[in-house]
């Protein structure tokens, strides 16, 4: 299991142009980066390119990780998200509402104390499914496709005011569900 100290050492070696360190970084986080890129782009070729671009940005030090501000994985995934959304814009976006991969909703999972479920994202995906479909879809477009209020309104032929209202309500509701679930998880 990688520790923050391992990540700091890894990034130090990458800054010194150590190819082996970059390969270790890819082995550690490549799957997560590729998965996010694929989720955004919905195309394996584009996802590969976005993943490679993400790691090359790290290698070329176009942006630097500050260990004081968060985990290396979160920083990498943020770069991956913006890289993929940039690619989406270049290719001409086609708004797609991705169906959730979880077929059945098991309410017991929401209060599970299994830490692994938080780490693999199962709980959060279930929380999103608890939102009204209209709100979940708008969050999807805003977060995973980087669309603005106006772009969403135009794409879905919904009044701009409606988009703003639904998005704000959806984000607030998601936060509440997330905090409640985290609170229940942390209770003894």
């Amino acid at each position: 299991m990688y520790s923050p100290a391992d990540d700091i050492e890894l990034m130090r070696r990458i800054a010194e142009r150590d190819q082996q360190a970059l390969w270790t970084l890819y082995q550690q986080y490549g799957k997560a980066v590729y998965s996010l890129a694929y989720r955004i782009l919905g195309n394996s070729t584009y996802a590969e390119e976005a993943t490679q671009d993400t790691f090359l940005k790290v290698w070329n030090q176009t942006t630097r990780w500050d260990s004081e501000k968060g985990k290396l994985k979160n920083w990498l995934l943020t770069i991956a998200q913006f890289t993929a959304i940039d690619r989406l814009r270049k290719e001409g976006r086609q708004p797609v509402i991705h169906p959730e991969s979880i077929e059945e909703t098991d309410e017991s999972l929401l209060t599970s104390k299994n830490e692994a479920r938080w780490q693999d994202g199962t709980v959060l995906r279930l929380l999103v499914m608890q939102l009204p479909q209209q709100q979940a879809s708008l969050i999807e477009l805003a977060f995973f496709e980087g669309m603005t209020h106006g772009e969403i309104a135009e794409s879905l032929h919904i009044p701009l005011g409606t988009v703003k209202t639904r998005l704000r309500a959806g984000l607030q509701k998601l936060r509440e569900l997330w905090l409640e679930s985290a609170d229940q998880t942390s209770k003894p």
């Binding site: 190819q19 790691f55 936060r175």
Partner: protein, 297 residues
């Protein structure tokens, strides 16, 4: 006009908190963004709320279904990293020392002392490497010494440009070591490290200095790689192989790698190159050595 869109408007804390979700998700207008950023720190509740949304976003990024990336993705990434060394070998010839960066005047205000020292060290090291190649070793002297020397120099310069001149470890011309890595059936000729250009056998030339953890490998006549493969350089210490870098070669089989080791190269006793995919390089070399040689000279 919406007061939230005025940059000189001072919102109350409740208004800021209300805008935080959209701000966190990049949905605010430029005016709203400027207004929030100008006033956020005076509203602890909004700061805390923003932190919550940022953590929520982190989890959303991790919550996507996990998919195994294609096998060639790692290969392509490492080949892209290695590409500057390979492509540098095919650029146009130029006078040998013309492109060696000259030491900047000590009074140049834009260059920090450490950067200046590295530049000077680099210039000295690059010149020493070229001199070593061109004069001491008769490196490819039988065929166009100038061109081949330029290729090495260009490769080194490419690395310098690629690294913004900040990461070189060839900081001394003292105690430079070199070794020839030969194809298994050609024998290791460390005593006379020349490459016989009359043959087409694969060979490589590796150099470093005593204290350095960085070395240069120059490959020649290497066979064409199969799809998905890159050349991997390995060093051995007490029979434990260490992967140190990958490179590719051009259509003539020439390539170069400036590599960095976690320990001084002098501490290793053997080097060899294999052709394999990055997926295979999880700690040990796979397949036969293309070239190999002892590092003791």
């Amino acid at each position: 006009m919406n007061p939230n869109q005025r940059t000189d408007f001072v919102p109350d804390c409740d208004s800021l908190v209300e805008l935080v979700p959209e701000y966190a998700f990049g949905l605010t207008t430029p005016e709203e963004t400027r207004m929030i950023e100008a006033n956020l720190q005076r509203c602890p509740e909004a700061v805390a709320r923003l932190s919550e949304y940022q953590h929520l976003q982190d989890e959303m990024r991790e919550a996507v279904p996990q998919i195994e990336p294609p096998a060639q993705l790692g290969t392509n990434l490492m080949a892209a990293v290695a590409a500057p060394s390979a492509s540098a070998m095919t650029v146009r010839p130029a006078p040998v020392l013309k492109h060696v960066p000259a030491p900047a005047p000590a009074t140049t205000p834009q260059i920090k002392p450490r950067r200046l020292a590295l530049r000077i060290a680099w210039a000295v090291a690059a010149a020493a490497v070229i001199a070593l190649v061109a004069t001491n070793l008769y490196w490819l002297s039988r065929v166009s010494t100038l061109t081949q020397s330029n290729n090495v120099l260009t490769a080194l310069q490419s690395f310098q440009s690629f690294q913004n001149g900040t990461a070189f470890v060839l900081t001394s011309t003292d105690s430079l070591h070199w070794v020839r890595l030969a194809a298994p059936d050609q024998g290791n000729q460390t005593a006379t490290p020349t490459i016989d250009t009359a043959t087409t056998a694969a060979a490589a030339f590796m150099m470093w200095n005593n204290q350095s953890q960085t070395g240069l490998l120059y490959a020649r006549n290497f066979p064409a790689l199969k799809p998905g493969q890159t050349y991997h350089l390995w060093l051995t210490q007490n029979h434990q192989p260490l992967f140190v870098g990958v490179f590719t070669v051009d259509d003539k089989g020439d390539g170069a790698l400036l590599f960095k080791c976690p320990e001084a190269i002098n501490d290793f006793d053997w080097a060899w190159v294999t052709a394999q995919t990055p997926q295979q390089s999880t700690g040990k070399p796979v397949g036969d050595a293309v070239v190999s040689g002892a590092l003791s000279s």
